[in-house]
């Protein structure tokens, strides 16, 4: 990582690192979802998940493009996506979780979307105009993502005995990864105090309200445990991210500078 960020490292994530968080979440989740392409349980779902990946990759280009601009070291969105190692990625642990069955993939998407939408709504008010513009562009797309994932959580949760059981076990498996989204303690406090990033509390409230209402409708039980797994936002990842990057970055690593 560039030394230009070192001044921020003691007091929390810099604006550059925050932009990486936003972009890396989109990138890693998009890559995970793209692994379903051609393997979806139904044609419509296969297409939907690929199109959601496409939205997220578009958003990645915007966030990482701005990150590169803010860093000022001449790195493009592509450089940041393809030429960083795992410890320089800032995505949530949630999005690097393996796909599992389709229920787990959907639950991961739902939990992420339920955070992503209020987060983008908050960022539309960012004092950094460039951040506000990317949020404004993304928020309409993400509203469709949450609409789809919420709908499917309800239909499968309140579906057959098997689908209910799979959705409940997906929720139980992923719940401890949601806490990392809901506070901004890792960020330099000035990011929030100066209004680049919204207050975490409002986003956590919107997340909790939407999730608990949807789970109730889906007849799923919200886990009681408050244990939170963290690390992704500060670059401490699970072993799974390395495999994602090995696949995603292979071409650029093997054939540096290759283009279409």
């Amino acid at each position: 990582m560039s030394s230009s960020n070192q001044t921020h490292s003691e007091s929390g994530a810099s604006p550059f690192e925050f932009l990486l968080q936003m972009g890396d979440n989109c990138l890693i989740l998009a890559h995970r979802n793209s692994q379903w392409c051609g393997h979806g349980p139904a044609l419509e779902e296969d297409i939907a998940i690929a199109n959601i990946s496409l939205d997220l990759i578009g958003q990645t280009q915007l966030w990482l493009g701005l990150a590169g601009e803010v860093e000022g070291a001449g790195r493009s969105a592509d450089d940041l996506a393809y030429l960083r190692d795992a410890f320089d990625f800032r995505n949530l642990l949630l999005v690097e979780r393996p796909n599992g069955d389709f229920g787990l993939t959907l639950m991961r998407q739902f939990l992420f979307d339920a955070w992503h939408l209020p987060m983008l709504k908050g960022l539309q008010q960012s004092t950094d105009q460039r951040v506000a513009e990317i949020a404004e562009k993304s928020v309409r797309e993400v509203a469709y993502h949450l609409e789809r994932s919420s709908d499917l959580i309800v239909r499968l949760g309140d579906g057959s005995e098997q689908s209910h059981q799979r959705m409940q076990s997906a929720l139980d498996e992923l719940w401890s990864y949601t806490g990392e989204m809901l506070d901004f303690d890792d960020l330099s406090p000035t990011l929030v105090s100066q209004g680049m990033v919204p207050q975490a509390q409002g986003i956590a409230e919107a997340f909790n309200q939407h999730v608990s209402e949807t789970l109730q409708q889906a007849t799923l039980t919200q886990p009681a445990s408050e244990f939170v797994r963290r690390g992704g936002k500060t670059g401490i990842h699970s072993e799974h991210l390395g495999y994602v990057l090995a696949e995603m970055q292979f071409l650029q690593r093997a054939y540096p500078g290759a283009t279409w």
């Binding site: 297409i47 496409l54 280009q61 513009e133 562009k137 797309e141 993400v142 509203a143 609409e147």
Partner: protein, 182 residues
């Protein structure tokens, strides 16, 4: 694409370079761009789609402000190349395509003509005011482009591209794409 003789290589000297003649007005340029089709839905033009936000001259450079439809739309690069090709055909060689993110593109900017062409092509045009709020399945009345019945149902919120949803007509049983409101 219209294959006129205008771009038949170096012998096409019948057009003076733009600097020595009047700079075409924004309306004239818009008229040219009205002939540039969307690569994915070729019946509608980039102007019909509402992505050409502003056309202006900055000194001797023609600047066209283009807004992306969906942020991940793979046609974006192709659209820019098509716009540039069309303008070069008119003898304009100093062109800058400016990406404009805000205000974000919305389907309300699709022209009435564009909507009619979509329906004719088999894609049900967006019903304005029905954009996703993120809360569950929408109840939008969508018209079947084949038989015009409104007895239709949403099969999936994502169709063949991110901008479309998959629908089925209960009257004529035909599946079709609906251009989502955004």
């Amino acid at each position: 694409m219209n294959t006129s003789t205008k771009h038949d290589g170096p012998s096409a000297t019948h057009k003076a370079p733009v600097a020595t003649r009047d700079k075409p007005s924004a309306d004239v340029v818009r008229g040219w761009l009205q002939e540039v089709p969307d690569p994915e839905i070729p019946v509608i033009s980039v102007v019909d789609l509402g992505i050409i936000r502003h056309i202006e001259w900055q000194a001797d450079t023609l600047v066209v402000h283009v807004t992306p439809t969906y942020s991940g739309c793979p046609a974006t690069a192709e659209i820019n190349a098509d716009i540039e090709t069309r303008l070069r055909r008119e003898g304009i060689d100093k062109i800058r395509l400016q990406r404009q993110l805000s205000p974000a593109w919305r389907t309300a900017w699709i022209s009435d003509e564009g909507r009619a062409k979509l329906l004719d092509y088999g894609i049900s045009p967006p019903v304005e005011g029905t954009g996703a709020c993120g809360l569950g399945r929408p109840e939008t009345t969508v018209c079947c482009p084949r038989c015009r019945s409104i007895d239709t149902e949403n099969v999936s919120q994502f169709g063949s591209t991110p901008c479309k949803a998959a629908y089925r007509c209960n009257a004529c049983l035909e599946p079709f794409d609906y251009f989502k409101c955004i």
